[in-house]
């Protein structure tokens, strides 16, 4: 009881810990800056312009769609004498971004394409506006006659509008046509919170390793054991001190991180839509993120403790990244299931999918999806930390301290 408190004080008295905390503060600050950078609130003007642009784009698409259905694929081709061949799909991807994404969207039925969009108000109003604008546009009249104005549009690709009811094209929306970035707390914070967990884990690993490694390297462990000879107690006290420190730092970092991001969103972006549900899920990200940081920190702590060298933890990390994350991934796809990155991702993102392509000898490949659930990922990372921590404790309890 007393011991872990002393250890906690020593932990925060260390220069390395303080440096690591400074690094953490710097990284969080960088995240906040990146959130605010180039972001601005959407004004009435912006919205009107975006809505108009979106409506224009939709009607263009409809015109192209109708051209395609009219079997006029050949007609526009003579107008685009400069372009070599329309069969190359690259020409589509080279054009404006909304159009590219429009391709898969338009094939979907209206109800499906609406699903991710329903929460966004602008799109609804935009499609309403689009309907109003639909009839009198020059483009639609031009389509009927099949004359010159069609030439200003890109010709439809073969099969692009197959099976699409041209009247149901409701994409893009005003949000897609915004000419500036708006940081949205609601949309971006969950991913940023998960990233923060990774930062905490990194700091925890380094601090955990250096904190006990330095004790061995300075030779102070023997001195401490003259005051508390129960080695398991010493070990547990140190681990608890590390955990307590990391929890305190983690909670503070998250609190400051959320507050700063919310402030940025409030000032320069969109701070709306922070519902109970979002708060709850962010809270869970915090819990999972701190739990992850503890597990990773325990790994660094255990390695440095058992080997009696801070650098051992660093070496182990590098060896793991080169050997497993790169080497194994290249050698066998199946092994991805056992990589830390995948399991950590699963834990933080409530599950992840691993795409495996299963190729036979003839070169034919079938894609296989491997589902890694949150609990599988968590159990894997937690189990690894537990095993390392227990092994290190046993090594410490048995080995001579000279």
């Amino acid at each position: 009881m007393r011991l872990w408190w002393v250890e906690l004080r020593r932990l925060f008295g260390r220069r390395f810990t303080r440096l690591a905390l400074l690094l953490l503060i710097g990284l969080v600050a960088a995240m906040v800056v990146s959130a605010g950078y180039g972001s601005r609130k959407t004004s009435e003007n912006d919205l009107a312009r975006a809505e108009q642009a979106a409506a224009q784009e939709r009607s263009d698409q409809r015109a192209r769609c109708e051209t395609a259905h009219a079997g006029g694929a050949a007609t526009p081709q003579r107008d685009r004498s400069a372009a070599p061949s329309p069969t190359v799909p690259a020409s589509a991807s080279a054009s404006a971004a909304p159009r590219v994404s429009a391709t898969p969207r338009t094939t979907a039925t209206p109800s499906t394409s609406a699903t991710p969009r329903t929460t966004a108000t602008p799109s609804t109003s935009a499609s309403a506006g689009a309907r109003a604008l639909a009839t009198p546009t020059p483009a639609s009249t031009a389509t009927g006659s099949g004359t010159a104005p069609v030439g200003s549009l890109e010709p439809p690709l073969p099969g692009e509008f197959d099976g699409v009811d041209c009247a149901t094209i409701t994409y893009p929306t005003a949000t897609d046509m915004m000419d500036h970035r708006t940081f949205s707390f609601r949309d971006e914070m969950p991913a940023r919170a998960a990233f923060l967990a990774a930062l905490l884990a990194l700091v925890g690993y380094l601090v955990g390793a250096s904190y006990v490694g330095a004790e061995w390297q300075h030779g102070t462990m023997a001195g401490l054991l003259l005051w508390e000879p129960r080695r398991v107690k010493v070990y547990v006290a140190k681990l608890f001190a590390l955990f307590a420190g990391l929890i305190a730092v983690g909670v503070t970092t998250y609190a400051v991180g959320f507050a700063a991001h919310w402030a940025v969103a409030d000032l320069l972006g969109d701070a709306g839509g922070v519902t109970r549900g979002l708060q709850g899920s962010l809270g869970l990200v915090v819990v999972r993120g701190i739990a992850l940081a503890l597990a990773i920190a325990a790994c660094g702590f255990a390695i440095a403790y058992a080997v009696r060298l801070s650098a051992a933890a660093l070496g182990a990390a590098i060896a793991y990244i080169v050997g497993a994350e790169i080497g194994l991934r290249v050698l066998t796809q199946e092994s991805q299931r056992w990589l830390l990155t995948e399991n950590i991702t699963a834990w933080l993102n409530r599950g992840t999918k691993i795409y495996l392509s299963d190729c036979d000898s003839t070169g034919r490949c079938t894609e296989k999806i491997l589902d890694l659930t949150m609990w599988q990922g968590g159990a894997y990372v937690g189990g690894l930390a537990l095993v390392l921590a227990v092994v290190a404790a046993i090594v410490f309890a048995r080995r001579d301290v000279t």
Binding site: W5, H218, G219, A222, G223, L224, L226, E228, P229, D400
Partner: protein, 377 residues
């Protein structure tokens, strides 16, 4: 340091299981270190040691003879392979958690966190054992580090670190103080202060185990000594007795007419050597007999000094490490004085040169002066 030492009586109770239990009791301690692949090294080979409470006990032995290893085993830092150890009657390492708060120890150049100040290092230790904060400043005062307590330990000199280490052992107000080469790096004042400190503590009932190579120091401060060699016990006893065991029985005589006196003494059957103005008479059981013999020839003795062996020569003799001119003795090599044993390679030491508990009865040169009273005049 010395003045403050008197304030340092042992803590309320000596944690002895029985009042007569020795402070330290070690029997048959063995420890083999494994080095690398399969290589073994016997550091302790059945070592015995008994330290009675309330004394300053010297723990001597050549380099690598296993003193530090013994102390580490006693304090639970090293796991012994065999043997029993007791501190105040409590079996260790099992009972170590209970007795450790009565034991202060400096084990071979102790280390501190270099970036923390001396005071902070001590405070961290004090807190682990619930020692009062005030005590930290007290012990810093005792070892003379009070003014430098705010400095980072990495800025300390060797002797200052050593003083800090001694301060750390005093934090607990120990009943047993184990000092492994505490004089390492200390200046003359520091050495004397540590000596006075040890004496003061011992007078207050604290047991001190002192491992040191400064034999003059040991001879001055210790009540009793143990000498070990190659992981085995060689001799234990009060300093005077150990010295007597090694005493040569030589007597230095100063007399006006040395030439004549030498003849007289030779005639009396005593081996005599000239040493400048002086005579060295060997194998004398009772020096007063020399005065008698000479006085009968009207030769009057102006100085008569028995030449006592000093601890150094006893040590060198008993551990077989007396340097031989023209040959460098190797660490761990027995009988450097050329007693015939070849350097060992098998990892098992031969029996130590002498294995004895010293006492007056064993003084080898004691001989009955059978020609008492004879006079050739």
């Amino acid at each position: 340091m010395a003045a403050a030492a008197t304030r340092l009586g042992s803590r309320d109770t000596v944690p002895a299981s029985s009042t007569t239990a020795p402070a330290i009791e070690i029997q048959g301690l063995r420890k083999t270190f494994r080095r690398g692949l399969g290589a073994r090294h016997v550091a302790l080979d059945g070592l015995d040691l008994v330290v009675e409470p309330g004394r300053v006990h010297g723990f001597l032995g050549p380099n690598g003879s296993g003193k530090t290893t013994t102390i580490r085993a006693l304090l639970g830092l090293v796991r012994a392979d065999e043997g029993t150890m007791r501190l105040f009657g409590h079996q260790v390492p099992e009972a170590l958690p209970d007795v450790i708060r009565h034991i202060g120890a400096v084990v071979e150049s102790p280390q501190f966190f270099p970036h923390f100040s001396g005071r902070r290092n001590l405070r961290l230790l004090a807190q682990t054992a619930g020692v009062k904060r005030r005590r930290v400043d007290e012990v810093l005062e005792i070892v003379g580090l009070h003014d430098r307590a705010k400095d980072a330990v990495k800025a300390y000199s060797l002797g200052m670190r050593q003083r800090l280490a001694i301060a750390a052992t005093l934090l607990k107000e120990p009943s047993l103080l184990i000092l492994d080469e505490p004089n390492n790096g200390l200046d003359p004042a520091g050495i004397r202060e540590v000596r006075d400190l040890m004496r003061g503590l011992a007078d207050g009932g604290v047991t001190v185990l002192l491992s040191s190579h400064i034999l003059a120091e040991v001879q001055q401060v210790c009540d009793s000594v143990s000498i070990v060699s190659r992981g085995r016990h060689v001799v234990t006893g009060p300093v005077a007795e150990v010295l007597a065991a090694g005493a040569s029985g030589d007597v230095r005589v100063r007399v006006e007419d040395a030439e004549y006196a030498a003849t007289v003494l030779t005639e009396a059957g005593l081996p005599v050597r000239r040493d400048g103005e002086l005579l060295i008479v060997s194998d004398v059981a009772d020096p007063s007999w020399i005065t008698q013999v000479l006085a009968r020839r009207r030769l009057f003795v102006s100085e008569l000094t028995p030449i006592g062996a000093d601890l150094e020569s006893v040590f060198l003799d008993l551990t077989g490490t007396t340097p031989v001119p023209g040959r460098s003795g190797q660490v761990g090599e027995p009988f450097a004085a050329g007693l015939g044993a070849p350097p060992r390679t098998d990892g098992k030491p031969p029996p130590p040169p002498r294995h004895a508990t010293a006492g007056p009865a064993e003084t080898p040169q004691r001989r009955e002066a059978d020609n008492d009273g004879q006079d050739r005049a």
